[in-house]
């Protein structure tokens, strides 16, 4: 029996269109939840920064959500959102993104130095204008750091969805495993890493462009890491 090579290049060549489709699927399923998560995390984070009594319970709930095994959540959702649908995979990812982004928004707002906030008040900013023109822009580096964590983990979490029939590049892992054929597994791993790296790079560039004022020190701060 001939030794099976780690990568069969001809397989990649033949299946390229399908692989690209999986990449696109992975991108959509990873990014939509992050965007939705950010849109939800902004008001909740603002509320958390404003009312401390709200913040602790919100973070508690989010931490519990974060600790749930993703596979279990997918399975619970199947009766509601269907087997092998994008929605089934994306709903839990929204919550994972929120779990990272709500604290990031709260921390970001907390990173506004008190003397800066005070001087904005003293110069006659109305509360809304102060929030939009002073506090949120200053929170951007910390929020973006959280966004990087959320994005990278979302890209890799999508593949777990393959176990319920819709996992973007995760499909390649299942396929390779079932057929005892390493090429798709290697391709899948490489592409997931490349995708996550590309997304992260884009966010770093966005950060440079959006916040040229942030010294290296503040930009390096980041939220939590990890995946469920």
């Amino acid at each position: 029996m001939a030794e099976e090579p780690l990568v069969r290049w001809d397989w990649i060549g033949r299946n390229w269109p399908e692989i690209l489709e999986l990449v696109a699927d992975n991108v959509v399923m990873a990014l939509v939840p992050v965007v939705v998560g950010l849109l939800v995390a902004l008001p909740l984070g603002l509320a958390g920064a404003r009312w401390r009594w709200f913040y602790q319970p919100a973070v508690g709930v989010m931490n519990v959500v974060y600790s749930l095994p993703s596979l279990a959540v997918f399975i619970v959702l199947i009766p509601i959102t269907g087997l092998a649908t994008r929605t089934t995979v994306m709903v839990p990812l929204v919550f994972y993104a929120m779990a990272v982004l709500i604290p990031a928004v709260v921390d970001g707002l907390a990173s506004v130095p008190d003397h800066v906030r005070q001087s904005a008040v003293a110069m006659g900013f109305t509360p809304l204008r102060r929030l939009l023109a002073v506090e949120l822009p200053i929170a951007v580096p910390v929020v973006l750091a959280g966004l990087r964590v959320a994005t990278v983990s979302s890209v890799s979490l999508v593949s777990v969805g393959a176990l319920v029939g819709r996992g973007g590049l995760g499909y390649l892992f299942i396929d390779g495993w079932q057929r005892q054929f390493p090429t798709p597994i290697v391709v899948g791993i490489v592409l997931v890493v490349l995708l996550a790296g590309a997304a992260d790079l884009l966010l770093v560039l966005a950060q440079r462009w959006l916040t040229p004022w942030a010294s290296a020190r503040t930009a390096a701060r980041s939220g939590r890491r990890g995946a469920a």
Binding site: P113, V116, Q118, A120, V121, A122, G124, W213
Partner: protein, 385 residues
């Protein structure tokens, strides 16, 4: 409502405007702390009123009640007779410049936009606001090249100047300053203080300045309000009067050491009598100078500028005074410097006499030790504390 006192510079002569009045003002925080207790005083328009006192005596609280960052729980604060509580806070604040210790610059905005903050809030056209900001940067002594930088690229002293420029941007008649110079080193602090006095001479703002440093208070204040812990006014007086006549032991102790000497800074030196017969030109014959009865003479050059002191007994028999080594001298500018400078000049001269010069450095005469003695005695009579 805010119209009256907001906006343009005070026209010459309207001294009655832009005065701040504390009328029996009290602040009790929700936890029961009484930070300010029955404070009544006036900060006259066009003057620097300094609040000074130990930590926790209610200086910041008093200051912030003026622009309503904190609302008083008792009494009233009036701006030109208008109770600040009848003015909507953002409107009120846009007409009052505010400078704090850490400058409080917006880290995400370039220097020029930081300075233009209040003009933007007031809805000025962007170009006009920026032009105004550039003008102010220059006014506070900053290189216009810094305009495009972000705050973190500036030194502490530069940031503080930007803070002052920003507070002045919309030309508010009132300026509140809360320990604005206490976070910078002593040399920078001194130059920022001088800069403020220079600006104030041009702008004539009504300034309330908070500090815990009595020397700063005495240097900057037209009037100094000494507060004691619990937010009670211990004394309100001009610096010279404060030094001469402290109201009680608390104020006396707070004023610290060398009060008598420091007070001399506020007594003008132009009343000192001059002797003009102790001055000799360098071209004079040494032999003839030896003929005078005076033990010490000031030698001046052809322009009338001092070269130094010569002692009669050291003079040679021949030649001019130009060939005689002169001892160092101390001089003060009559008509500008204080009695303290005159005394200092005397102490720097081996003769014990002070050389008085005019604004361009030419000798006007000599103030003798005896004359200084008499002036010090007159000064001492003025002191009652």
């Amino acid at each position: 409502m805010g119209r009256l006192w907001q906006g343009g510079r005070a026209p010459a002569g309207d001294q009655g405007l832009r005065m701040i009045t504390f009328d029996d003002v009290t602040k009790r925080y929700p936890d029961g702390t009484v930070a300010v207790d029955g404070l009544s005083l006036q900060a006259p328009s066009g003057e620097i009123t300094v609040f000074v006192g130990p930590s926790g005596c209610g200086k910041t609280t008093s200051l912030r009640m003026i622009n309503r960052m904190i609302d008083a729980t008792g009494g009233r604060i009036l701006l030109d007779g208008v109770d600040v509580r009848t003015i909507d806070p953002p409107t009120l604040r846009r007409g009052i410049g505010y400078v704090i210790q850490q400058a409080g610059l917006f880290p995400h905005r370039k220097i020029v936009d930081n300075v233009a903050t209040v003009p933007y809030l007031l809805g000025w056209d962007r170009r006009k606001a920026r032009a105004r900001a550039m003008e102010l940067l220059e006014r506070v002594g900053l290189d216009p090249k810094l305009a495009g930088r972000y705050p973190f690229q500036l030194s502490g002293g530069q940031q503080q100047r930007v803070g002052v420029a920003r507070a002045l941007a919309a030309d508010p008649p009132v300026l509140l300053m809360d320990e604005p110079f206490s976070a910078v080193d002593p040399i920078v602090r001194a130059s920022l203080q001088d800069e403020l006095l220079r600006l104030q001479a041009e702008l004539n703002k009504t300034i309330v300045f908070v500090t815990h440093d009595i020397d700063e208070a005495i240097k900057l204040g037209d009037r100094v309000a000494v507060l004691r812990v619990g937010g009670r006014l211990a004394q309100l007086a001009a610096p010279a009067e404060l030094l001469a006549d402290p109201a009680d032991d608390f104020v006396r102790e707070f004023l610290g050491r060398d009060r008598g000497i420091r007070r001399l800074s506020f007594i003008p030196g132009d009343g000192l009598r001059l002797r003009t017969d102790l001055t000799v030109p360098a071209s004079a014959e040494a032999a003839s100078a030896r003929g005078t009865a005076e033990p010490w003479l000031v030698v001046v050059d052809a322009d009338g500028r001092p070269l130094g002191w010569v002692a009669r007994e050291d003079l040679p028999d021949s030649g001019t005074l130009a060939g005689v080594p002169a001892a160092p001298y101390g001089a003060f500018v009559r008509g500008r410097d204080s009695l303290r400078s005159a005394l200092d000049a005397a102490l720097l001269s081996p003769s014990g006499n002070a050389v008085a010069v005019d604004g361009s450095g030419r000798v006007e005469g000599v103030v003798t030790r005896q004359e200084l003695d008499a002036a010090l005695a007159r000064a001492a009579e003025g002191a009652r504390g």
